[in-house]
C-alpha cells in the first residue's frame, strides 16, 4: 500500500496534485463497507491508513468542538452533532443559502481489528480528524524460530 509522500522541496502545487489524484483513485472504494451510512450523508468522510491504524477525516465546518460528539462501539465509529445557522435575526432577507444545517449522525463501520478505546479526535479549521490505532493483537509480530 503506497503511503502519500510529498516532495520535500516545498512545491504546494505538485503536492496538491498528488493528493487529489490519490483521493480520486479511492473514491467510494467498494472494498470498504461503511455500514448504514454512505456517500451523500453529512459529514462527508475520507478514510486513510497511517500504518498504525485508521484515520477518519470529516469536513464539518463551523462547529463548536464541544458540540461534536464522537463515540465508538465495537467496530462502529459514530460522529454526531448539530450544525446551527449563525444568528441572522434582523436580516432584511437573504440572497444565497447554500450551506447545510441541522442535526447529523453518521456511523462508519471500520475495517480490521482496531482499538476504539484508544481513539483520539481533534477538530481544527472545520476538519474533524479521528485516529483509531490498531489493536495490539492485530499488529505484526515477529515469531522467534528456535533451534530444534
Amino acid at each position: 500500500m503506497a503511503l502519500l509522500r510529498f516532495s520535500s522541496d516545498l512545491d504546494p502545487v505538485s503536492n496538491l496534485l498528488t493528493l487529489q489524484t490519490e483521493l480520486e483513485r479511492f473514491l467510494r472504494n467498494p472494498a470498504i463497507r461503511l455500514g448504514v451510512s454512505g456517500p451523500g450523508d453529512f459529514p462527508p468522510v475520507n478514510i486513510f491508513d497511517d500504518g498504525d491504524g485508521i484515520v477518519v477525516m470529516a469536513e464539518v465546518p463551523g462547529m463548536d468542538p464541544a458540540s461534536l460528539n464522537v463515540s465508538g462501539q465495537s467496530h462502529t465509529l459514530t460522529i454526531k452533532g448539530e450544525r446551527k445557522r449563525e444568528t441572522v435575526g434582523d436580516a432584511a432577507g437573504y440572497h444565497r443559502r447554500e450551506r447545510p444545517f441541522g442535526e447529523f449522525s453518521r456511523s462508519v463501520q471500520l475495517p480490521d481489528e482496531l482499538d476504539l478505546d484508544k481513539a483520539a479526535a481533534t477538530y481544527e479549521a472545520g476538519m474533524l480528524t479521528v485516529r483509531v490505532p490498531k489493536a495490539e493483537s492485530a499488529k505484526p509480530r515477529q515469531i522467534a524460530v528456535k533451534p530444534a
Binding site: 496538491l16 487529489q20 453529512f42 469536513e59 468542538p65 432577507g93 450551506r99 441541522g102
Partner: protein, 132 residues
C-alpha cells in the same frame, strides 16, 4: 432521530476562467444575508486556516481564495474517500455600493464571516419635501 435531514452535497469544481490554474479548485458554499446597513457572507472552507485566506475587493468584484495545506495528509494511504481536497475560489460582483475601508473578515472553524458595510449611496435616504 435527526429533526432535519442534512445531506452532503458533492463539491462543485470551479469552471471557466480559472482553467489555467493547476489542480482542482472548488466553489465554497456561501450564505449571503442582507441587513439594513450591511451585507454579510458566510463561506464554508473546511481545511483552510485563517492565515491562508485572501479576500480582495476591486472594481466592485469581491474575490475569496482559500488555500489548503497538504501537510496533514503526509504518510497517509487512502482507503476510502467521499470528497476531494482542493483550494477554494469564488467571486461575486457586488450590486451594492460597499464601504471598502470597513470590510471585516473573521475566520473561525473553517467558516469565513465577511461583513460588508453599505456605502453612503446604498443607504436609504429620506428626501425632504418642501412646501411649494
Amino acid at each position: 432521530m435527526a429533526e432535519q435531514e442534512i445531506t452532503a452535497k458533492e463539491k462543485q469544481q470551479v469552471e471557466g476562467q480559472e482553467k489555467t490554474r493547476a489542480g482542482r479548485y472548488f466553489l465554497p458554499r456561501v450564505d449571503i444575508y442582507e441587513f439594513a446597513d450591511s451585507i454579510k457572507l458566510w463561506v464554508d472552507m473546511p481545511g483552510v486556516k485563517e492565515s491562508d485566506v485572501v479576500v480582495t475587493h476591486k472594481d466592485g468584484v469581491l474575490t475569496i481564495t482559500g488555500t489548503v495545506s497538504t501537510e496533514a495528509y503526509e504518510k497517509l494511504a487512502p482507503l476510502y474517500t467521499e470528497y476531494n481536497v482542493g483550494n477554494y475560489f469564488r467571486q461575486f460582483e457586488l450590486n451594492e455600493d460597499v464601504d471598502d475601508q470597513q470590510i471585516a473578515a473573521l475566520m473561525k472553524n473553517g467558516v469565513l464571516e465577511l461583513t460588508l458595510p453599505k456605502g453612503e449611496r446604498s443607504q436609504p435616504r429620506r428626501i425632504e419635501i418642501k412646501a411649494g
